[in-house]
C-alpha cells in the first residue's frame, strides 16, 4: 500500500468520524438538560461527585441511571434495581439484533466499542446514514458510527459534569423542572413510533398503570406498567391478527420504529 493511498484512507476515515459527529449533534444538544439532571440528582441522592460521574462514564444509559437513582433514594435494594435496569435496557437487545449483520463481522475491539456506545440515539443515526427504507447490508460505516457514538458519550459526560458542578453550588437544582426534559424527550421518541393500533394499546396500558402505581406509591410501578403494556400490545396484535398483515412482524415493527426515529433525525438535520 503506497503512502498516498494510506493518506487518502486516513482522510476518508476522519471524514466519516466527523460526519457521524455532526449527525449526532442535534441529539447531543437535546440530551444536555437531561445530563445535568443526572449529575445533580446523583449528588442529591447522596452519591459522591466521582460516583456520580462514574455512573455516566461506566453505565452510559440515561433512563436506567435516573430510574436507579430514584430507587436508591427510596432505599430500594440492589436486586430490584438490577431487574428494573434489565427491563429498561432490554430494548438494546433489539437494536443489537438489527445491527448484528453489520457489527458482528467486525473485529472484537469494534464489537466491544460499538456495543458499549449503542444507544437509542446511535441506533437512530446509523440507520439513517444508509438512507431509504431498507438497511443496506454492505454499507455500514464503522467510523461514522464511532464518530456519532463518541460524540454522544462525550456530550452526555460533559452534561453530567455540569450537573455535578452546578449541583454543588446551587441547591435544589432538581426543583427547576429539569425532569420535564425526560418527559419531552421520551414523548418525542415514543409518539412517532405509534404506527400500529397495538403500539397505541401498549402505550396507553403502560401509561395508565404507571400513573396508578405512582398515585398509590407502588415501588414496582415501572415494572408492572411496562410489562403489562408489552403484553397488552402483543396480545392485541395476536387477537386482531395485526402481525399477519406483513410477512415478518418482528422486523417490520423494529424497522418501523427505527425508521420513524430516523425520519425525525433526518428532519433535524434538514433544519
Amino acid at each position: 500500500m503506497g503512502a498516498a493511498e494510506l493518506t487518502s484512507m486516513t482522510t476518508s476515515k476522519s471524514r466519516s468520524v466527523l460526519k457521524g459527529a455532526l449527525a449526532m449533534m442535534p441529539l447531543t444538544i437535546a440530551v444536555i438538560p437531561w445530563g445535568i439532571l443526572a449529575g445533580s440528582f446523583a449528588l442529591d441522592v447522596g452519591l459522591t461527585p466521582v460516583e456520580s460521574q462514574a455512573m455516566s462514564a461506566i453505565i452510559f444509559a440515561g433512563s436506567a441511571q435516573l430510574v436507579a437513582l430514584g430507587m436508591i433514594k427510596a432505599g430500594i435494594g440492589i436486586g430490584s434495581i438490577l431487574i428494573t435496569t434489565l427491563l429498561i435496557t432490554s430494548r438494546h437487545l433489539l437494536y443489537a439484533m438489527a445491527m448484528r449483520s453489520h457489527i458482528s463481522p467486525l473485529p472484537l475491539k469494534w464489537r466491544l466499542g460499538l456495543g458499549f456506545l449503542l444507544t437509542d440515539e446511535l441506533f437512530a443515526i446509523t440507520n439513517q446514514s444508509h438512507g431509504g427504507d431498507k438497511l443496506a447490508q454492505h454499507q455500514f460505516d464503522r467510523w461514522y458510527a464511532l464518530g456519532g457514538g463518541l460524540t454522544f458519550y462525550i456530550g452526555w459526560n460533559i452534561a453530567t459534569l455540569l450537573g455535578i458542578v452546578a449541583g454543588q453550588s446551587i441547591d435544589h437544582l432538581d426543583d427547576l423542572g429539569l425532569d420535564f426534559a425526560i418527559a419531552a424527550t421520551f414523548i418525542a421518541i415514543v409518539v412517532p413510533t405509534v404506527k400500529k393500533p397495538s403500539i397505541l394499546v401498549c402505550v396507553l396500558v403502560s401509561l395508565t398503570l404507571a400513573v396508578v402505581c405512582a398515585v398509590f406509591a407502588i415501588q414496582a410501578g415501572l415494572l408492572i406498567a411496562a410489562i403489562s403494556g408489552m403484553v397488552a400490545g402483543m396480545a392485541y396484535a395476536k387477537l386482531t391478527g395485526e402481525g399477519n398483515a406483513v410477512s415478518a412482524p418482528v422486523h417490520s415493527s423494529t424497522s418501523h420504529s427505527a425508521k420513524s426515529h430516523t425520519d425525525s433525525v433526518k428532519k433535524d438535520q434538514n433544519r
Partner: protein, 100 residues
C-alpha cells in the same frame, strides 16, 4: 454499595447491548420473544415519563395548572405533527420553563 450498584448495572446494560453483536454466541431469540421485545421501548419509556407528567408532586394532577401536563400535551402534538425529536423537545421545554 453504590459502586456495586454502578458496576453491576454497567454489566447488565453492556450485556444487553453487546450480547447479540457477538457472532460466536448461538443465541437465537424466539419469534415471540422478539415480538414482545418490539413493544419494550414504547412501554418502558412511557412508564418512565407518565408519572413525571401526571403525578409531579406525588398526587394526581390532571389540571390545566399542571405545567408538566400542559407541556406534555404540547409535546405530543408537536411530535405527532412534526415527527422531529429536537424541535419537539426544545419547543416544549422552552414553554415549560416559561410556565413553570
Amino acid at each position: 454499595m453504590i459502586w456495586l450498584i454502578i458496576i453491576s448495572m454497567a454489566v447488565v446494560v453492556f450485556s444487553s447491548r453487546h450480547l447479540l453483536l457477538e457472532p460466536k454466541l448461538p443465541i437465537r431469540l424466539s419469534k415471540n420473544t422478539l415480538t414482545l421485545l418490539s413493544y419494550s421501548a414504547p412501554a418502558v419509556l412511557t412508564a418512565i415519563f407518565a408519572p413525571i407528567v401526571f403525578v409531579p408532586e406525588g398526587q394526581l394532577a390532571i389540571s390545566i395548572h399542571n405545567p408538566y401536563l400542559t407541556c406534555a400535551l404540547v409535546a405530543t402534538v408537536l411530535a405527532y405533527v412534526t415527527r422531529n425529536t429536537l424541535l419537539t423537545t426544545v419547543l416544549s421545554m422552552g414553554l415549560f420553563f416559561i410556565l413553570y
